[in-house]
Amino acid sequence: MPDVTILSNGVTILGESRVDGFGSPATVSVCIYLPCGVVFDPPDQIGASLILAELFNRGSEGLSNKEFRAEFEKRGMQFVVGGGFDRSVIRLDCLTSQFEEGIRLISAALRTPRISDFNSVVEAKRMLLNDIRARDDDPAGIAGHKLTELFFAEPFNRPREGSEAGIRAVGERELTRCHSSALTSGSIIISWCGAISQDEVVKVFDRQLVLPKIARREIPKCFAVNTQDIVGVHIAKPTEQRSVMIAFESASVSEVGYYPAKVASIVLGGGMFARLFDEVREKRGLVYDISCSHSSNRDRGWFVVGFACSTERFREAADVTRAVMTDFIPTSLELERARRQVKLSLAAGAESRSSRCESLASEWSYHGRVRSDEELISAVNDVTAASIQKLWDTYPPFRHEVQVSVGGEG
């Protein structure tokens, strides 16, 4: 289990020491979660948080973009920043000997991003607008974007990439406001994994990331998902395949149906042996791939099913998918496979420092603690066909569904 320290300003630091990565050099991976994402942006400037995240990647008061990147690269440090929905994530992977220098550089960028530098802001905006255009060339990307818009209520229905109008509208004043909110110390989570100790990590952040104490920034509540009977949208695009995504509500992380939903998603869509893959692809050859996943925030949970196939086979693929999901009762063998698959993914995830580092931050963010492997295995072992049936009774598949398809007509 990780060591956890809450600094006096409210920043949470948690991590695990790994001395030897099978003979590889002493390295450390660090994740910094900032409360900075599109759900916090003003409705007319959706994307402000993404511009700020991009600026964290572009230097600090004392260092230009080029000088800033050179400082990382000459030390062989990998540094990335990603803006997102309800958080921005900063990742650093480096030799342990370079750890403090990496954190010093990142801290400077976090405290003094180049918000007043006109060129930096214009370039950051251009990059984000390019990302939106790239998404709109990807049928699955378009379907996912529209599904989010129709399924969730404001602000959770916002585009993860920001809106074109919103990005264009953002000015220095909004970036400054966004910046002070992003450094709400009580909401910052720092996780690490590698050849270093918690004491050393805490000391480095105490020295380098000096922030005032600001109480936790609450993520807006997700009050509603789609409540209409069925919402269906087709977006015409001259593609060979029709891509479809369907979402319907299910158990959230705070409900008893959470683990049954997770196990159901593994049995239905967890790989080459999964029920949907077997019925739709292996037995009928209708698709190349089909996915089924369960996601949740603190308030709501949902399933998303997605596949792509040629227009003339779309109806059959959709009908089979619906029948499999609706009539789903897992066999004892399928449940046992899911349990074993969970054990393997936990073991494999623990072998990679960067993967473990990310899961620590994610666990803390969603659960307020880190669940042990034993706890997870036990929770998955407790899932039965009856508990999945109960979940299906509470949240019947495709009730209040939203379906988006992209592609040719027919």
């Binding site: 001395v19 030897d20 990565g21 099978f22 003979g23 590889s24 050099p25 002493a26 390295t27 080029k66 990147r69 050179a70 690269e73 000459k74 030390r75 062989g76 440090m77 990998q78 992977d93 214009v122 370039e123 950051a124 251009r126 990059m127 390019n130 990302d131 255009r133 790239a134 709109d136 060339d137 990807d138 695009k237 001259p238 593609t239 060979e240 395949q241 790989g271 080459m272 042996f273 077997d278 692809r281 292996e282 037995k283 009928r284 050859g285 209708l286 190349y288 792509a308 040629s310 046992e336 496979r337 349990r339 074993r340 054990k343 393997l344 073991a347 494999a348 072998e351 990679s352 960067s354």
Partner: protein
Amino acid sequence: MTATRVPPKLFRCPVTGLTVIHELLPEARTVAFGLYVKNGAVNETAKESGVSHFLEHLVFKGNMGNGIELTQAMADLGSHINAYTTDEHTSYYATCLPEMATATLQLLLEILRPKFSSADVAREREVILEEMRQYRDDPGFTAHEKGLQFFAPRHPLTHSIIGSEAALKKLSKSELEAFFYVRYRSEKIALVLTGDTSTLDFMEVLRAFGEIGGSSIPVISEKGSEPAMSSLKIRRGVQRLTKRGILQSHLVAFWPAVSEQDDTKFALELWSDIIGAGSRFAWKLVEPGLVESAGLSCQPRNSTGYVMLSACCEPGGMPTVEHEIEQILKDALSKPIDADELEQAKAMTEFSLSSGFETPTDRMTAHGEHWLTHGIPYPLESELEAFRSVTLGQVNWFTPQFQWNDAAITSLKPSDS
């Protein structure tokens, strides 16, 4: 803090004839297995286009008398299995918990004894046709495939991995079987095992599996399945293509370059990092937001190789992007790569290679792919040393070889832009 490790063992299994690479990592929590087959799209004739990839799908079927039993049996163990095909090889790989290692290996080897049925062939053909449509809906994929074919027409390296629709529709069960028995001979295959294999007696599993193939193998000539990988006969120039319904424009360019066996590839990899998205492209193209993405990569292959450039931007910006790329390459002649740029590229490469060799699955992949062209497991230390010893003269030697006028350029833009 670095522990002394036992280097991986390499030997030929006397029973199966397979090359075996074994690396014991007692502190690992998983075991990774890989079968690396020296067979990919380069080994196909036009009539056989896509057969390697088709086989990669088919060998999962029928191994145990029922079309889907192999993946299901793997799932019963909680083990993960998957596969991929490239231009030069096919890989099948599995990951499992140590206590499932024996059973997982037994199942993975079943891939080498498939039992094709006409029904499986017909069904899997439909799946691959869907996969093909998916790729054709991806403009980046289309630009790459058309660009490579424009660069070196009819060279085996430009063969489509997924194949041609016409060939795919004609391939019969007997042709697939014949190709399999020619291309999946034990001398063309390595089995790689890494991780906590302390309770696995893999030699016993291999003995029990027995000979690969056997007397029932049809005797077929390999004629037509071994294209000569001579130097690339390349084309220079520009082709402009259009596609309906896309918003972004795509640009790809190719130049002939060094092979996997050529020691200058280390200098070329650093050259492409410095000129490409890691540095000069980044500052002129990516960071100013002129492109959505841009990259330059060194692609060494068995006995040949190429350098590939790719960029994606809004259609109106393409002339500027092309001009900037031409200028970056030209400027590299008058402003050669300097010592700081080279040291940065070396530091990034060293960290990336070391940290990418962390898990049993990482190591299995590195050993398997290295064996395909070098016949030995991945020697991390000597590869790092090779990068460290690259000089400024060696990297700058490449700049005149990769100028815009010498490239085979393909652009793909929206037809209605």
